[in-house]
Symmetry: C2
């Protein structure tokens, strides 16, 4: 009688009248099996639709040809990187396993460590960790970090040139004639946010515009906080009110757009807005958002290439930095002339 649930190697062995060891050899193409036996086993395998359990085999094997991609959640940032990794991985003999382990608030921090422990050493041969928030201790499998939040920490890293992107964004606003340019800052504990603010200040300095602390507010990369910040900035009386806002990420920029609309301010006529990240939604806002694009898909591909080198025992460049580039859309224009 046919087994009810999964077809296991034991089912195949029984049906073929051989031992499980022999089935294992056939399935994995090992030597030491008579051609006729192999053929018979193969036939039963096909007949029963047997596929080896990834779980069970990974428990014994040293490698699985599976690469883990550890994410906090499937947000636009992560999924763009995934596309790049997936495109690059095609035909390279590896399966991809994207794991989102941050399911509750209590593991919102340190999720990467937990996920790595739970999968590492057995299920996956190596890992690509997207935007890790902590420095990872030495692990049992090779790891590449993409856009780490706390600096490189000795690990292999792929990121974009955040400072330069922010410089370009700010310079764009300056070139349009803006002088009162506000910045809604990201999470101040994160590397990327610090670098973006740094780029903003550098461009101001290059243009000889004095840095005004009153124009820099916290948005924490989050919509809610950014709404508050935007409201604070845009409700100021006219001479104090900034004519342009550079938001640390697109989410914050969307908040600015929303608040401007509430207040009856036109974008870009009354206020210009620039974001950062160029998530797909940025091309769909009204007006479409001028922002800084990170080549996320390329970065994903880079990470995969790097990890492959590591897995092959080759030495890999420790740090790959991709340029960020300004994408000018409709949310920026010359300041109002009064």
């Amino acid at each position: 009688m046919r087994p009810a649930g999964r077809v296991t190697i034991t089912d195949v062995a029984r049906a073929a009248g051989v031992s499980v060891a022999t089935v294992s050899k056939v399935v994995n193409g090992r030597y030491g099996v008579a051609a006729t036996t192999a053929e018979r086993v193969q036939q039963v395998v096909t007949e029963l639709g047997y596929e080896s359990s990834l779980i069970a085999s990974s428990l014994r094997r040293t490698h699985t040809n599976v690469i883990g991609i550890l994410v906090a959640g499937f947000d636009p940032f992560a999924t763009e990187l995934l596309k790049g990794i997936s495109a690059n991985a095609l035909g390279k003999g590896y399966e991809l396993l994207a794991y989102s382990g941050a399911i509750a608030d209590d593991n919102a921090v340190g999720w990467e460590q937990r996920s790595l422990s739970r999968l590492g050493g057995t299920l996956i041969d190596g890992a690509i960790i997207l935007t890790p928030t902590v420095v990872l201790p030495s692990t049992t499998v090779p790891v590449v970090a993409v856009d780490p939040h706390t600096g490189t920490g000795g690990a292999h890293v792929v990121d974009a040139d955040n400072a330069d992107g922010a410089r370009a964004a700010t310079r764009h606003l300056i070139d349009l004639g803006h002088r009162r340019i506000a910045h809604i800052r990201g999470r101040t504990d994160l590397m990327s946010a610090i670098l973006r603010e740094k780029g903003y200040r550098q461009s101001l300095e290059e243009a000889g515009i004095a840095y005004d602390p009153a124009l820099v507010l916290d948005g924490g990369y989050r919509a809610a906080w950014s709404v508050d910040a935007a409201r604070e900035l845009l409700t100021r009386p006219r001479p104090d009110r900034p004519t342009a806002i550079f938001a640390a990420n697109d989410l914050s920029a969307f908040a600015v757009l929303q608040v401007a609309e509430e207040l009856g301010l036109r974008v870009p006529q009354d206020v210009s807005v620039v974001g950062f990240d160029d998530i797909p939604e940025a091309a769909r806002t009204t007006p479409r958002l001028t922002t800084v694009a990170q080549p996320l898909q390329e970065m994903g591909a880079d990470a995969f290439t790097m990890l492959l080198a590591l897995l092959d025992g080759r030495t890999a460049q420790a740090h790959v930095r991709r340029p960020a580039s300004l994408v000018v859309r409709r949310s920026t224009a010359a300041p109002p002339t009064d």
Copy 2:
């Protein structure tokens, strides 16, 4: 001495001076452990940074609180659905494991079956399969299919109303005044393609426009084939040439845009183009593409909700169909008046 690789339950047991069984009980919060013992074990766990291996435990357990999302690859379609699933899964106590098993051409077909076999029964409690291409035999874990290519096949399904979306797209062209409307068909073996063509024909019929087989060509949902089809259509002499083309998906529509440009035809002045899917790139073409959007994120969320019901032993609606909606951008206008 501290163990070199992963920290296992045995390491913890040894360090705490108890048996592995006791550690297991503590870690999983089972009863029957003295408070003082539990505390000591817990401390060692923290100290050593122990995390149970998902693999090993899933081999024994009946459930893992992990939901598998089986995809062929991480393309725009899959990642949008992922976003919706992920957003809905947050805080529901499940971890997400997206698995891309189609790594080579030889498992390009039947990947879903293979992935399900490899993960099912042990690693994952249930699965959401994105755009499966074959009908799945009864499996050991609950399964929800999103946008299946071959009909529902008795399984639980989430999809968009392809026929209605196609009707809307075609009606939009008719309303603009078009009468010679071509259709570049999708893969004729797939449910979605058949429904889209059906919608196209229905709208023509409703408007009293005779169906002309010469205006319907195969594009197979693929760029290359669609380029050929578009060229065939757009190089026809003027009275025969269609004034509008409804492509079965955005990829095909992009091909039309490209061919039109090569031929010196202006979109939408000389020819109007409508796509289907509204992948993010559709908002970035020149001109931006009018297309039919499927609410992918909502569909992902629906699938998760459905699977949750199944896992809880509740009965779930067998088929959830979401409306598809026309997104009018810049690639459509009234036909040339000559």
